[in-house]
């Protein structure tokens, strides 16, 4: 079976460099043909919120990089359902198609991967 890797982030989009650093790993993995999936938990679900305007705080818009993920065959994107409701986010508020997961489904997802990298 081919190796696969799950990237997990619980970081808000602009409070630290975690979201950007995570995307760098995701894109590199794709170049090396390592299948990766993305799981955003807690504050991490905010990374995918569309219509971000980070230029007002001199940051690059993450949505621009996120939009390229499907082109890199990174289509397995998961969000924690509980965090989505905590922030009153609907799937339509996100800039990419993502699948919401309950906590027991998150456990099953993590178990599916040979390696997991957390940022």
């Amino acid at each position: 079976m081919a190796k696969s890797c799950l990237l997990i982030s619980s970081a808000a989009p602009y409070g630290s460099s975690a979201a950007r650093d995570l995307l760098d790993i995701a894109l590199t993995a794709s170049v090396f043909e390592l299948p990766v999936a993305l799981l955003l938990i807690g504050d991490g679900v905010l990374q995918l919120k569309s219509q971000q305007q980070p230029q007002t705080i001199a940051q690059k818009n993450l949505n621009a990089i996120q939009a390229s993920l499907p082109l890199y065959d990174l289509e397995r994107i998961y969000v924690e359902a509980e965090a989505m409701s905590f922030y009153d986010l609907q799937l339509e508020d996100l800039c990419l198609t993502a699948q919401p997961l309950q906590s027991e489904e998150i456990q099953a997802l993590i178990a599916e991967f040979e390696s997991v990298i957390t940022l």
């Binding site: 890797c5 970081a11 650093d21 170049v31 090396f32 390696s115 990298i117």
Partner: protein
Amino acid sequence: MRFSLIIQASPLQQQAASTALRFAQALLSSGHQLHRVFFYRDGVYTALNSSCTPSDELNLPDAWQAFARAHEIDLVVCIAAGVRRGVISEEEAHRYGKHTATLAAEFDLSGLGQLIEATLVSDRIVTFGGRA
């Protein structure tokens, strides 16, 4: 079992940085292999040769270098993260017009591809200092 480590923890602010070294030492003494240690994010400060540690404190950069020399361990610093933080080799210093290289001996600057390669060939990947 073959392990690789990802170190994101700042060597001076997070205990995870020194936990990582002790974990690496424990791996080898338990008969495991260590394929690579990849320094990412603020973890790259571990490879800064201009840092000065008080003499009565653990000098993490020196300790990693001694460990790498003793066991021929591959210590790789993410080049993008390193350059942003001033951890640069002779070659990068020249490229960016800086006077001095600051990358400590035993560390190599390379790309995130080295992290992905480590993920592909290792049985286990262990991250220190994630979630920050």
